[in-house]
Amino acid sequence: MRAVVTVIGKDKTGIIAKVSTFLSEKGVNILDISQTILQEYFAMIMLVDLSNSKEKLAALADECGVMGEKIGMSIHLQHEDIFNAMHSV
C-alpha cells in the first residue's frame, strides 16, 4: 500500500531529516520526494510504501499529525488513492 505524505509550514533547518527519520523508524519506505519553497513556505510531498510498516495507515496518519504539531509543521499522511481519485479521470 502506498501513501502520500505532505509537509507544509514555515521553512527551517532539519525538516526533511526529522520526517524521514520518523518514517524510517516506523518501517515506512520513501519512494519519491519532491520539495520546494513556495512563498517562504516549505512544501514537501513524499510518496511512501507501507508494505513493511509497523503500524496501520490510520494510526500512522494520527502520529504524523502529532509529530507535525511538535515540529511546528502541518503533516498529513493519506492513502494515495484519494489523490488518484480526485485528480485523474
Binding site: V4, A58, S74, H76, D81, I82, F83, A85, M86, H87
Partner: protein, 451 residues
C-alpha cells in the same frame, strides 16, 4: 508522482473549504425481521441493526484517517416501519424504541425510516402508524421520520396531506420544551427516493438489497472557493468550473463509498451528489449564489443561479461516480446555512421565494421555522404546494417546517449544532381551510402516462 497543485488543492479543500463526506448511511432491510408479535419483531429489528451496523462508526473513522477526509455523519436507514408493523400498528412505538436503542448502541448520529408511503392511499394501519409519529419523535433521540404523500405517477393523496399538517403541529406540541425540535426530524415528501442517505428523510426502499452503503458528499465551500478564483468569468465558464469541482468532490465520495461497502460487507449503493450546507461560514449554498453576483440570496436572479448550480453539480458528479442516486442537488435548508439565516434575518428571503427555488433544486422547504400558531390547514397547504411542484416536475420535493410553539415572526429559534438557527418566517394569513378539508386525490399529471 503527484504534482504539487493537485495534492495541495485536496488538502486546502479539507482544511480551509470544509470539504467532507457528509454522511455514510447504511440501508438495512427490516423485512426479514417481521414476526407474529410486535415484541418479537422489535427484538429482531434491534438485533439486526446492532449486528449489521456494529462497525459503521469504526470503519468510517478509519477511512476518514486513511484518506485524510472528514466523514461527518454515520447513519442508518431502514425499511419504512409502517410496513414492518402493518399487522400491529398500535404497537409501532415498540419499534421506535427498539430502533432508537439500537442507534444509541452502535453510536450512529441518526436513524431514518420511521416512515410510511401513502402517496396513493392511506390504509388503516398506515393511518394508525402516522398517528404514532409525534410521540415517537418526542420520546426518542436518534429516530427520524418521513411520509411520502404524493408522486408523479400516482398524484397527491390530499387526505394524507391534511393529516400531516395536523401531525406536524402535534409533533411541535409534543416537543414544545425544545422549541418543536421533533419537527426537525420529520419530512413530508412527494416523489421520495429509496436510497437517500440524508436525514431526516432517509429510508431503505423495499426494492433495495439487504444491506447497502449510500454516501452523501458535500462541499459548498469548495464550489464557492472555485468561483471566487474566477471573478470575471461568464456563466458558461462558471458552470464549467462548478462541474469540474463537483467531479473532484464526487470522486472522493465514490472512493469512500466503495471502500466502506467492502469493509462493512455491504453492497455499494449510490453516491448522492448533494451540496449540503452547514451553519459554518464558508460552507453555505447561499454564499455560492451570492458569489455568482447576487447582493443577497432571495433577490431576483436567485432561482436562475440556483438552477445553474444544481445542474452543473449533477453534470460534474454523474461522470465521477458509477452509481448516482439519492437526492443529488443543492440543498437549501434555511437554519443550516449561514447565508440563508442572514438573508432571512434581514427579510431578504421569504417562504414564497424559497418555494420557487425548490422547483429547480433538491429538495424542498427545509428547516424553516414558522409561527407557533400556524394552523394545520396552512401547513397542509404548504405541503400541497410543494408536492405539486414535485409531481408536475418529476422531482423530489419535501417539506420540513417547524411551527415553533409560543413564538412568532421576529423571534428566532436555535436548535444548535448542524441544525443551526432560524428566524421565524411569516406565512400568508388567508385561510386554505376549505381546500384542505375537501380531501381526495389530486390526480397524476397527464405526462405520467408514459406506458
Amino acid at each position: 508522482m503527484f504534482n504539487y497543485s493537485d495534492v495541495l488543492e485536496t488538502i486546502d479543500m479539507v482544511e480551509r473549504e470544509h470539504l467532507d463526506i457528509r454522511t455514510i448511511t447504511m440501508g438495512i432491510s427490516l423485512l426479514p425481521c417481521i414476526r407474529e408479535s410486535a415484541e418479537s419483531t422489535a427484538k429482531r429489528v434491534y438485533d439486526k441493526v446492532c449486528s449489521k451496523a456494529e462497525n459503521i462508526v469504526k470503519v468510517a473513522d478509519e477511512l476518514s484517517k486513511e484518506y485524510g477526509i472528514p466523514i461527518v455523519n454515520k447513519r442508518v436507514s431502514v425499511t419504512p416501519v409502517s410496513l414492518i408493523c402493518a399487522a400491529f400498528p398500535q404497537k409501532a412505538p415498540l419499534l421506535a424504541k427498539a430502533l432508537d436503542d439500537a442507534a444509541k448502541v452502535v453510536g450512529i448520529d441518526f436513524l431514518g425510516g420511521y416512515s410510511a408511503l401513502v402517496h396513493k392511499g392511506t390504509a388503516d394501519y398506515e393511518k394508525q402508524f402516522i398517528m404514532s409519529i409525534p410521540e415517537a419523535l418526542a420520546s426518542t433521540q436518534k429516530l427520524c421520520s418521513s411520509v411520502n404523500i404524493g408522486s408523479s405517477k400516482s398524484g397527491i393523496n390530499m387526505d394524507a396531506v391534511a393529516l400531516m399538517g395536523d401531525i406536524i403541529r402535534q409533533t411541535a406540541s409534543a416537543t414544545a420544551d425544545k422549541d418543536g425540535f421533533g419537527c426537525a426530524k420529520l419530512v413530508v415528501f412527494c416523489n421520495a427516493v429509496e436510497d437517500n442517505p440524508f436525514m431526516a428523510g432517509a429510508f431503505h426502499g423495499v426494492g433495495e438489497g439487504d444491506t447497502v452503503i449510500n454516501v452523501g458528499v458535500s462541499g459548498p465551500g469548495v464550489v464557492q472557493h472555485a468561483i471566487e478564483a474566477i471573478p470575471e468569468a461568464n456563466l458558461t465558464d462558471l458552470s464549467e468550473m462548478i462541474k469540474r469541482t463537483a467531479f473532484k468532490i464526487t470522486r472522493a465520495g465514490q472512493l469512500i463509498a466503495k471502500e466502506a461497502a467492502t469493509r462493512l460487507n455491504a453492497q455499494f449503493g449510490i453516491v448522492d451528489l448533494s451540496l449540503a450546507p452547514t451553519p459554518a461560514r464558508g460552507d453555505s449554498v447561499a454564499q455560492i449564489l451570492e458569489e455568482m453576483g447576487l447582493e443577497s440570496v432571495g433577490t431576483h436572479g436567485t432561482t436562475a443561479c440556483l438552477a445553474m448550480l444544481n445542474d452543473a453539480v449533477k453534470k460534474g458528479g454523474v461522470m465521477a461516480s458509477s452509481r448516482v442516486g439519492g437526492l443529488s442537488g443543492a440543498f437549501i435548508p434555511v437554519s443550516e446555512d449561514i447565508g440563508m439565516i442572514e438573508a432571512a434575518e434581514k427579510g431578504n428571503i421569504n417562504l414564497d421565494k424559497l418555494e420557487a427555488m425548490t422547483a429547480v433544486c433538491s429538495v424542498g422547504l427545509d428547516m424553516i421555522a414558522l409561527p407557533g400558531d400556524t394552523s394545520a390547514a396552512t401547513i397542509s397547504a404548504i405541503i400541497a404546494d410543494e408536492a405539486a411542484i414535485g409531481m408536475i416536475n418529476n422531482k423530489t420535493t419535501a417539506v420540513r417546517v417547524i411551527p415553533v410553539p409560543g413564538k412568532g415572526v421576529g423571534e428566532e429559534v436555535n436548535f444548535g449544532g448542524l441544525l443551526g438557527r432560524a428566524p421565524i418566517m411569516a406565512v400568508h394569513n388567508q385561510s386554505s381551510n376549505k381546500f384542505i378539508a375537501r380531501g381526495g386525490l389530486i390526480p397524476a399529471p397527464i405526462h405520467s402516462n408514459k406506458n
